[in-house]
């Protein structure tokens, strides 16, 4: 990596040879570090309970945020204060500062993460230790993480759109990798709604219908790879499975009470939702509908995705709940130490969220509609990313 006379990193240049910009590497590394940190942290809370600001899981998340914020800030300062730099030509103007759009989004994400830390700390002191994922400080943190991951994705896409040949192929692969981790982060937020005991209720599918296809479709369109959706869904699945199999290898026990379940190893997060199957179907059928009007693509894609997902996830949920799955491979016993003995997940009993058949079908209708709407948004967003140059 070369540096300019002023000591700042050399500006990003599309014609700098077959070299991936270091900001892209930084954002990619940060996305992966943060994903590992988040999975590890949730597992930590479900197994050990007690943590501090400086646990390894927290350090990974913080490192990812800091790395991105610093690297992007340096890039922005370099582009802003070097008027003749090549980076100027491939920069946007945000409040007088210059830099690639993706770096601003990633830097913004880093700032949001840093802001969420003292907010979360105060929240614990005022309202007690958090025992659910979705609280205002956590949403700010999640928004910050989304900024980093999407910032990295847009940065990579802009580079890719200006690149050609081997450089483009390299950036395309990074796009798909980042897209896969966008899915990982999005699915973490849906964990409370996609617990195995809820997979025979419409609630899970409504949750999966809202927004998932935006983050699957947009990067896939931008990457323009024949099997983009499948690859991204496969990255999410492989990451989740690796965490599912690796975490329980480590012995651990609760350090907080009340302890309702005997736990002697790190509790992993659940088996991945089978997104890879509908993603594969969409990729397979893509040539059939790529020329259709946008609204038809959205309708067909959204409905097909959700239909295939329900068709595979529903029976798979039955397998997950059955004695046949109670082994290290499926590891369905991924409930925390504080799960009461009579909880559905401990008894392997489905929870019927829908009061009756009408409620179920109404919910499923919402799921399909949300899926189609998300597909439409994904198409619009993906088409915009394809045009990104800065």
């Amino acid at each position: 990596m070369s540096t300019s006379a002023g000591g700042y990193p050399a500006p990003i240049s599309a014609s700098a040879g077959a070299r991936v910009p270091w900001t892209v590497w930084a954002c990619t590394s940060a996305s992966i570090l943060i994903a590992i940190g988040l999975y590890w942290d949730i597992s930590w809370h479900e197994t050990i309970g007690r943590d501090s600001f400086w646990t390894p899981a927290h350090l990974l998340i913080q490192a990812g945020g800091l790395l991105t914020a610093l690297v992007c800030a340096m890039t922005i300062f370099s582009a802003t204060f070097q008027p003749n730099s090549v980076a100027r030509t491939t920069s946007v103007n945000v409040l007088g500062f210059r830099g690639p759009l993706g770096t601003f989004i990633a830097a913004w994400g880093g700032l949001a993460m840093v802001t969420s830390a003292p907010f979360d700390n105060w929240w614990h002191d005022a309202y007690g230790l958090d025992v659910k994922i979705l609280s205002p400080p956590h949403i700010l943190l999640a928004t910050g993480i989304a900024g980093i991951v999407w910032g990295g994705l847009l940065l990579t896409a802009a580079e890719m759109n200006r690149a050609a040949g081997a450089q483009r192929a390299r950036l395309q692969r990074l796009c798909l990798l980042l897209g896969g981790f966008v899915i990982v982060h999005s699915m973490i937020l849906r964990l409370e709604y996609t617990n195995k005991v809820l997979l025979h209720s419409s609630l899970s599918y409504v949750s999966l219908g809202i927004g998932l296809l935006v983050i699957l479709e947009a990067p896939a369109r931008a990457a323009q790879h024949r099997w983009a959706r499948t690859i991204m869904a496969a990255i999410y699945s492989v990451f989740t499975l690796l965490m599912l199999w690796i975490l329980p290898l480590f012995p651990a026990s609760p350090k907080l009470g009340p302890v309702y379940q005997p736990i002697d190893h790190m509790v992993p997060l659940p088996w991945p939702i089978l997104l890879v199957v509908p993603a594969f179907v969409l990729d397979l059928l893509w040539p059939m509908f790529e020329k259709a009007p946008r609204w038809q693509q959205a309708l067909f894609g959204g409905v097909a995705f959700m239909a295939v997902l329900v068709a595979v996830q529903w029976p798979f949920a039955t397998i997950l709940m059955s004695p046949v799955a109670r082994n290290w491979f499926f590891h369905p016993a991924n409930y925390p130490y504080f799960t009461p003995p009579n909880a559905a997940t401990v008894r392997y009993v489905f929870v019927k969220v829908d009061a009756n058949a009408m409620a179920f079908w109404r919910g499923m209708g919402i799921a399909f509609a949300a899926s189609a709407a998300s597909m439409w948004l994904g198409i619009v967003f993906g088409n915009w990313i394809k045009k990104l140059q800065r």
Binding site: A14, G128, L256, R390
Partner: protein
């Protein structure tokens, strides 16, 4: 094997303990096997939160002390989390400090394991855990977060504008005016959306805060009414019954009123203290009649404005003190009977209280001044008219004595025993015994039979001020009450 310890009280008092009134710290003196420990616990103001535990061993041969939290009853009482090792103090090797996370409101116990030259021993201490208040945000933090928030809002608006204006331009191309205008329009829309999001976020925050506030412990106010025949009628209150389960899995213990258990022989211990002179003091034991109602035939007592404190204990070991105030006329009722006790007109003294038949109760104080939040032993000696220690003290409700520490304005009240300030019923439950286990039949190396003429109580005043200490012992079949004044600078 653990010995049964009648005087084991570890009181984990939150800021507004349910077991007393505004006397948050817990003082407990007991045996962990062969080791004599004095335990002080400062409970968290917010639960989930951290309890601070101070332990002082009277013996020098303790090597290690471990602490862990358990629910008192139910599934959470069966499996324990890993124990924490208490840190030994550098300046005093017999003192240890530990911390425990208390994760749900309700009835807990702290299990203390002491290990040393004489083996190991265990001590179970009841811990009622509640949230009492919700602190606000410090101004400096609020300013910092606001500034960072402003930067985030400005940033996202600028980013949206830039995305619409320039992001799809080829390198080197400048945006024409129409694009710039479009960029500003998108910035305006983004600003509106961000403001809507912030307003929604603020409403969400307020909703969460309101839910938390509803789950804070509210002091119950017992309803009192004087009926004909000098009968006092009491109706228990339960302002904490409407708790919603905010958490999916950490359920707070519900507080209900149909699960009361006797605490040292009585379902309710009722204290009446005339204010402001505090010269009329009564310790009575109302009988339950129906549901949450109790009646008490009042003894002869002078007219006045009385503070009422009703101590009860629930089946899961959770104690409460329900409070009230009432004006009573002069009562010329039936004489005291059973365990009921009190006096109609007795002023506090600094050191020596005159009792019946020339007997005296002497407060043995050392020269060091009283200090708030410091655990000390309050020792009282009973003497006959010749100044000799009394030899015929008896158990009063299974103990050497009972004490009430009360601030002169009535806002601080603690009902304390020789082992400390916990409920004895809760101690029994913590030890796995029935709540109503007869303490007087306990076999213990500690005062099952009172020392001749002396009783002592571990306690620490919660804050500076003026207090009355009412000390009750029994001799020759009669309960004697000495009253002392204390000034805590």
């Amino acid at each position: 094997m653990r010995k049964l310890l009648p005087l084991l009280f570890i009181l984990l008092l939150p800021l507004s303990t349910p077991a007393h009134v505004n006397s948050p710290d817990v003082y407990f003196d007991g045996l962990a096997g062969p080791y004599h420990l004095l335990v002080t616990v400062k409970a968290p103001a917010v639960v989930p939160g951290i309890a601070q535990i101070e332990i002082r061993s009277a013996d020098k041969d303790v090597d290690r002390i471990e602490v862990l939290p358990l629910k008192m009853v139910g599934a959470g009482a069966k499996m324990a989390p890993s124990a924490d090792v208490a840190q030994r103090s550098i300046s005093d090797p017999q003192s240890y400090h530990g911390q425990l996370w208390i994760m749900a409101r309700g009835s807990w116990k702290v299990q203390i394991t002491a290990r040393g030259a004489r083996g190991s021993g265990e001590l179970d201490v009841p811990l009622p855990a509640i949230s009492t208040n919700t602190p606000g945000m410090q101004k400096s933090l609020g300013v910092l977060l606001s500034l960072m928030g402003l930067a985030l809002v400005a940033g996202i608006v600028g980013i949206v504008g830039a995305a619409g204006r320039e992001a799809d331009l080829t390198p080197g191309q400048q945006p024409e005016p129409a694009r710039k205008k479009r960029g500003h329009l998108r910035e305006a829309i983004a600003a509106v959306i961000v403001i809507v999001i912030l307003i929604s976020g603020d409403r969400w925050w307020k909703a969460e805060a309101a839910t938390i506030s509803r789950l804070n412990y509210h002091m119950p106010h017992v309803q009192t009414q004087l009926l004909s025949g000098n009968v006092l009628h009491l109706q228990l209150d339960n302002p904490n019954s409407q708790e919603r389960n905010r958490f999916n899995f950490l359920m707070p213990d519900a507080i209900v009123m149909d699960d009361l258990v006797p605490d040292h022989n009585h379902i309710m211990h009722l204290f009446l203290v005339r204010m402001p002179d505090m010269k009329s003091f009564w310790h009575l034991h109302p009988q339950p009649t129906a549901g949450t109602q109790f009646t008490q035939t009042l003894p002869p007592l002078p007219a006045g404005h009385y503070r009422v404190y009703a101590d009860i204990v629930h089946a899961n070991g959770f104690p409460e003190t329900q409070i009230s105030e009432m004006d009573l006329p002069a009562i010329s009722g039936a004489a005291l009977n059973g365990d009921d006790s009190g006096f109609a007109d007795s002023a506090a003294t600094d050191k020596t209280a005159q009792l019946a038949d020339g007997y005296r109760m002497v407060w043995e104080q050392d020269s060091s001044p009283l200090k708030a939040q410091k655990a000390i032993w309050f020792r009282f000696r009973l003497e006959d008219k010749d100044g000799k220690p009394v030899q015929d003290m008896e158990n009063y409700m299974g103990m050497a004595g009972h004490a009430v520490f009360m601030s002169n304005d009535g806002n601080i009240f603690a009902h304390v025993h020789p082992a400390g300030s916990v409920s004895m019923a809760a101690v029994n439950i913590a030890e796995g015994m029935p709540a109503a286990h007869d303490m007087s039949k306990m076999n213990s190396t500690m005062d099952a039979k009172p020392l001749a003429g002396e009783v002592s109580f571990p306690y620490g005043f919660p804050k500076p001020g003026d207090y009355h200490i009412f000390v009750q012992v029994k001799r020759a079949g009669r309960v004697e009450t000495g009253v002392f004044s204390a000034h805590v600078p």
